[in-house]
Symmetry: none
Subunit: 317 residues, 2 copies
DNA sequence: TCCTCTGGTGAGTAATTGCTCATGGGCAAA
DNA sequence: TTTGCCCATGAGCAATTACTCACCAGAGGA
């Protein structure tokens, strides 16, 4: 709140100093001498001009809107990191743009000198992101997959991204030698009891950063298309309120994991702690709006890479 | 001139860094670590953002002294609009400050919802102002150049600002496909008789608002430097009493257009009516004092954007 | 193929800016 | 008038930013 008793001329001086500093580009020393005051006073006037919002800065570039949205999202949902890429209204692709952004973010983590554990989920978006990665040598890091790499028919899952990642990144990789869905809760326990799986699960729990795609449900969503769930199972799930999934873990509109037989069969590692690590959800596109919102409000993720369109939805929803 | 070949992502990065620095108020160190680059690179991106004019700074406070001067000028010379910016005693630039103010004024006009015709002259000051414009969409407005865009040597005139304007502002633009000076009065008539030119001239006569630079004469003034007039022609003109020019139209100390062969060759459109529209002159600097005074007293303009120094001269002259 | 040139990088350093603290003047209340 | 408070001031110092230099990688031409 501006002081009522503010000397009337003082704001004027602040404006003048701010003008000389920001518009005319003089140093505070020069301002001090032309205004006949000490350097410190000039500094104070300049910062007063800023504090009183006399100085308006704006950025004339499309990115500005994205940064703005990102900032608001970070505040609203208490996220650790948000990245918004411009929407391309015409494009129907669910990966263009965010794949590059996600790749850049993955790369930033991998370039860290201190050893980290990077966990990674699955899905088309992540695959596209990983395909954007340059070759990097980072022998200190460990990369672990959260999801199994065996499909119901026994073949390797195409969208299991850890192998694509291994092509580009020279680091120790830990795939998950499991199907995505076990046939029963008991089978899952059995599988998770295996020595190899247990150690991989243990590593995944230590992840410093996790990249996951956020999947929408629906009979033409990835879980159905890729044959993990039958159509009637999907319909039943949606009737129970399910709106999205991460690594196979199905959650409702509030982002709570569903308490139902499917989730008991999910063989993926649990999503690493959102308390102690960064879990970055990656998704865009109208069909995923509800899933993204649920994942964020239910704190299945604590960081987000998405596009303008989805960001606006999240802010207004 | 910005490199066309600028790596496309680089300006994006610069914008991002600039936003983080100026809008979000982060330090360059923080920016460096969030963007995964070195501190020096972050600094470079920030300064690139400034250099490429992605960052627009504006002072949103009427400085009392300037307001006062503006009011007195408006009264004394019966002007429709006066804007005074602070003087920077040290600076030799003839554009710093008024360019931003002029850009703000142009923007105010362009943001009007009802369709207007905005006419624009030429010159370094106007160019600098237009470079400050953000991108605006205003399909309802028409923007017309008063001066030709062809130099004596046949190349496009650099300081013909309508093309810079077209980069920033999405509106219908009407350049003037003429030289600045015709070789003779007859040639001018011939040129002005062309259909295309006639329709452009007609639009310019309907201008709701006009922005023109006020040029000083002198052998190192713009008309000579840019090669429109030879030195001896200039000397002759000055002996006849010429002190300034607007769009090439040369006037004497009382602001009366000179009745001489040069003015008969000026191919620019006439300055739109000061009775029915707003014609804003933009100029500052000691060398232009006489030209500004003449333009104002002779009512070649009926509005003014200048600086404190010139305003004081006008009040005391 | 080699050379050159452009443009980017990191390091080091100088310049500039921001912060804290002790001081003192002005003003209102006692 | 005196007291006490507020806040502007200047100094010194820490943090931050800008600049220069030497070097490197890739593009393009001889």
């Amino acid at each position: 709140m501006a002081k009522r008793t503010e000397t009337p001329g003082r704001l004027d001086d602040a404006a003048r100093a701010g003008w000389l500093y920001y518009v005319a580009g003089r140093t505070q020393d020069e301002i001090a001498s032309t205004m006949g005051i000490s350097r410190q006073s000039a500094q104070r006037l300049v910062s007063l001009a800023v504090a009183e919002r006399l100085i308006k800065v704006r950025l004339d570039h499309p990115i500005a809107a994205c940064l703005e949205l990102g900032y608001e999202l970070r505040e609203k949902f208490d996220l650790k990191h948000v990245e918004i890429v411009p929407s391309d209204p015409g494009a129907s692709s669910t990966t263009v743009g965010i794949a590059e952004a996600a790749a850049a973010e993955i790369e930033r983590w991998l370039r860290r000198p201190d050893p980290i554990v990077l966990a990674i989920g699955t899905g088309r978006t992540l695959k596209a992101a990983v395909d954007q990665l340059p070759t990097i040598e980072c022998p200190n890091h460990r990369i672990v997959s959260l999801t199994g790499n065996i499909t119901p028919d026994g073949s390797a899952a195409y969208y299991n991204v850890i192998f694509s990642m291994a092509d580009a990144v020279k680091a120790r990789h830990f795939p998950m030698p499991l199907p995505v869905l076990a046939s029963s809760a008991e089978e899952r326990e059995l599988l998770h009891g295996q020595q190899l799986v247990r150690s991989t699960l243990k590593i995944s729990a230590q992840a410093d950063v996790t990249f996951v795609g956020i999947g929408e449900l629906g009979t033409d969503g990835p879980l159905c298309v890729d044959g993990f769930l039958a159509k009637d199972e999907m319909i039943e799930l949606m009737r129970e309120g399910a709106v999205g999934e991460i690594c196979g873990w199905i959650f409702d509109g509030n982002g709570k994991l569903l308490d139902n037989p499917i989730n008991e069969r999910v063989a993926s590692a649990p999503i690493p702690s959102r308390e102690t690590s960064t879990v970055i959800g990656i998704a865009k596109g109208k069909r995923k709006f509800q899933a993204i919102r649920a994942a964020v409000v239910g704190r299945q993720v604590n960081a987000l890479i998405t596009d303008e369109e989805a960001a606006e939805f999240l802010l207004n929803a």
